[in-house]
Symmetry: C2
Subunit: 182 residues, 2 copies
């Protein structure tokens, strides 16, 4: 009957993302999130015992989604040279297109309590290490990855001076270079 009735945790996480987008990442409050997902504050706090847990949950889901995208991306690239880099670029691109705003949790968490970012930092360190070990030209691979990160950060801060389609073209270009130039 109801397809939109995902589990309550995901409903809440989605709502939090929307609030962060509408009000600014630093103005995410429990009341607003509860209201946005049509739930009472009590209900919200039943699912996430406090604000830190909510933010951590957002980051956790982001990381998990990103990782699974990378894995599937990598599987379809099996064996190709620089598969790791290509999968990372692909995951960044897909993830951003599928749900612009997922990355807002980074801003929200970092604004509220930078310590919450530790798992993100670990994940990034792991990716970076793989990039160094599995790329034919590690420096160039790092640069291409950083450019993709730059695209993401411009997007979440609302600073991008290029259109959506130009952004997509730039992602394409990054992938293309990762085939040709190294």
């Amino acid at each position: 009957m109801s397809e939109s009735k995902a589990n309550p945790r995901d409903n809440i996480l989605d709502a939090a993302q929307r609030v962060a987008g509408k009000e600014g990442a630093g103005n995410l409050t429990l009341d607003k999130v509860a209201c946005e997902c049509g739930m009472s504050k009590g209900g919200l706090l039943y699912n996430f015992p406090n604000k830190d847990a909510l933010l951590a949950g957002m980051l956790d889901r982001l990381l998990e989604q990103h990782r699974s995208m990378m894995d599937s991306e990598e599987k379809s690239l099996a064996g190709e040279p620089n598969a790791c880099l290509k999968a990372m670029l692909g995951a960044n691109a897909c993830h951003e297109v599928a749900d612009p705003g997922v990355y807002l949790s980074l801003l929200a968490a970092s604004a509220h309590k930078p310590e919450l970012m530790a798992p993100v930092k670990e994940t990034l360190a792991e990716y970076y290490q793989r990039l160094q070990n599995e790329s034919s030209d590690p420096d160039m691979a790092t640069i291409l990855w950083l450019a993709a990160e730059g695209l993401i950060f411009h997007a979440i801060l609302g600073l991008a001076p290029y259109s959506q389609s130009e952004k997509n073209r730039l992602f394409q270009k990054l992938m293309q270079i990762s085939e040709e130039a190294l």
Copy 2:
């Protein structure tokens, strides 16, 4: 006699930057800033009539510093091909090294009230336009610029998985590519 007695506005802006670094960009409060620069809240509000003005002041100074760095960088590169790109990369690198933390104002402003970022967006748009018009390979130039931006954003979010010296090497590498590859 006293060199550290800059004008009060700059003292306050510096203090605000320090607070943003210590407490997290979203926890910048007027009380903390006043305390950090050894001034009362009343005194602070005399210099900046409200919080928005303080944040806007931080962004304004950031933009101004960045622009002046780009200008001087560009002057010393006069006539070289892709001078614009090189100046942008140089300014990003210098600025970040001179005062890691300048860019925290971006996070603070964006967390508090995204609208404050409008001037930043305009400036970025202008830079991007110049990059398109004055580069021999606009796409590649954009990618190198985005990589530099990625480095900055990793730094302000405390996510960089590479050391300071690796970061410097990456900046070097970016400049090198901007000479060679286009």
